[in-house]
Symmetry: C2
Subunit: 360 residues, 2 copies
């Protein structure tokens, strides 16, 4: 599978291990040849973050900074990077993971002087971009788990096979180590991701997984990295279309957009996280009008945010521009659960079928 | 099992159904006898919330308010209660659930004039206290899922059996419908609940479930109602001791205390949620000193909160009083992940065994 095999059939972890080892080896080689070791660290500054129209997500540009052991001011930073890379190499080798919080505490013993966790986090990101691997491949896990998944997907974690239809009513939880999970088999035609667990449970209860041959994904608000990786993998490895249904407000729009086109802050890993083919199913401003949904008035902060989105390179296609304009015009927003106005089943019996038909 | 069988072997849902039906029947009976229907709603005001020293949690006192159909001002409120009770009866009968958000939207069609969701939430609570059943039994689910559980526990959800050791690295998720879940079998001696998923994953990785024959429960901060219900049930139905390990600060203390002795706000359901026999394992102020943990200074708000806790009836035993005083004296707090100072494995290899031995 694309996720576990890669260049020369090495696993992602093996590639990470080799790159970590290479980082140290290059320094040793330089020193033994009496060259001054220099590290090239791609810049993550805003001027080096570019929206790639073809890829449809943010990427890093070509700019980078040099860190030289010949520069007294940069020695500490290189020392920190080397120690941290060594810690990661050890993690990968021992098949362990650590949170960046744990890493910070472990670093207390190294004597390389991280003043606070923010500093060690940044050095962690430096290593990600320098080596071109994600922190998960380095064994550095986010604290939070990913989304809940319900539906007929068989996964393998090591020796264990899990069917996401048989993991309980709250589904299978995407763990931060999702890249070590293999997709064994499935019997679905699509994926519908929803913003709230309230809607997730509604869909499970109304048997939406059967009615639409779908995986149901409960995002729990802004999608965690592991969730975004999962959605990209099911879309690209299993060729499943991904639909996202969120609250009809700028925040719901943007939860969907970050899944599709990534965030600027994570431009260096968007190639692993963004799912540009995912589609926003709703709730749109048009839905609010067409379905006569119960609404709340837009607050000042909603209006401000909508205007920001209108200028954002990710929202430049006509459909998004129209929906943003329409929402500003009606001055109203609606939650996904607002369909309950027509009864609990309406969203699954009427709204989803109508929208899916229009989109497929 | 205690959870699924009850008075006369009726299930919790059946009891709820009968009580909901009774509420309406009583009103009909009164009307047909030409009596004025009156509902007695136990008061949830602070003066009626009492800490019960014997039960070791907050309960409601004896005070109640009367709502009479003979009082013009109270007719609307009774109408709202009856509509809402009818909605719940329908949910229970159809084996469905709804979030309180969905209920609010559904109520738009009733014409009983809820101005906002807060109002419908309060009427929902009125029904809980009036009938003496929990909202989950009425089919009204909280939005959020409960904790993650990892370890050798076999559960049954309807036709489905799930082993919490085989649900994936992130474990089995406690769903809001936990009371419909049956504990079929287990092979553990205790339960250790931890505040963060970082610590949960650490324990899974270090095989703490094997080393301590334990269930690992990842609370994800303040424990959800479903989590509290789960912990109470494993403690009382399976006779398993429950240990709670949180950050060493007033917020970590209180996450543990709410599991043990409930919250004042939920006094009317603490008999279903509180686990007074659960024990706080750490991180204590003594741990901070004994293990020479990396710390952060207490902030003003931490000090204020510790002083509040010192006066709280739930914290009156000597041990809590000593720990609160000690923390105020050293002026420091520590996170659970701070043990990583001694290596990632230390918390499982050294801290937990030492603490468990001291407590068991």
């Amino acid at each position: 599978m694309a996720s576990v095999e890669n260049d020369n059939n090495l696993s992602r972890k093996e590639i990470a291990y080799n790159k970590l080892k290479g980082l140290g080896q290059d320094i040793i080689d330089d020193v033994s040849k009496k060259n001054i070791p220099v590290l090239k660290v791609p810049s993550r500054g805003t001027s080096n973050i570019v929206y790639d129209d073809e890829k449809r997500y943010f990427v890093l540009g070509d700019r980078y900074g040099k860190r030289s052991l010949g520069n007294v001011k940069q020695i500490k930073k290189i020392g920190q990077m080397v120690y941290l890379a060594n810690f990661c190499k050890d993690l990968v080798q021992r098949e362990k993971t650590a949170t960046i919080r744990e890493m910070y505490y472990v670093s207390e013993g190294w004597g390389v002087g991280f003043d606070n966790q923010q500093e060690s986090n940044i050095v962690g990101e430096d290593i990600e971009v320098t080596l071109g691997v994600s922190r998960e491949d380095l064994g550095l896990m986010p604290e939070e788990d990913g989304a809940s998944v319900y539906g007929d997907l068989l996964l393998r974690e090591g020796d264990l096979e899990i069917n996401a239809l048989r993991a309980g009513k709250s589904g299978y939880t995407i763990s931060p180590t999702i890249d070590e999970v293999e997709f064994v088999d499935h019997n679905v035609k699509r994926v519908i991701a929803v913003e709230t667990m309230g809607m997730f449970h509604r869909m499970v209860q109304e048997k939406a997984y059967k009615k639409f041959d779908t995986l149901i994904v409960g995002l729990k608000g802004q999608a965690a990295r592991a969730t975004r990786r999962f959605l990209k993998r099911v879309n690209e490895e299993l060729n499943l279309p991904v639909y996202i249904c969120n609250d009809g407000d700028p925040w719901g729009f943007h939860i969907a957009m970050v899944i599709m086109s990534g965030s600027a802050k994570l431009a260096h890993v968007n190639h692993d996280l963004a799912t540009p083919n995912a589609k926003f199913l709703g709730v749109t401003a048009s839905d609010i009008i067409n379905y006569e949904l119960p609404t709340d008035p837009l607050k000042d902060i909603d209006v401000l945010r909508l205007k920001e989105l209108a200028k954002d390179p990710r929202y430049q296609d006509t459909e998004w521009q129209n929906e943003i304009k329409k929402m500003l015009k009606i001055g109203k927003k609606a939650e996904q659960q607002a369909f309950s106005k027509y009864g609990l089943e309406y969203v699954v019996d009427t709204y989803f079928p109508e929208k899916l038909e229009a989109m497929e």
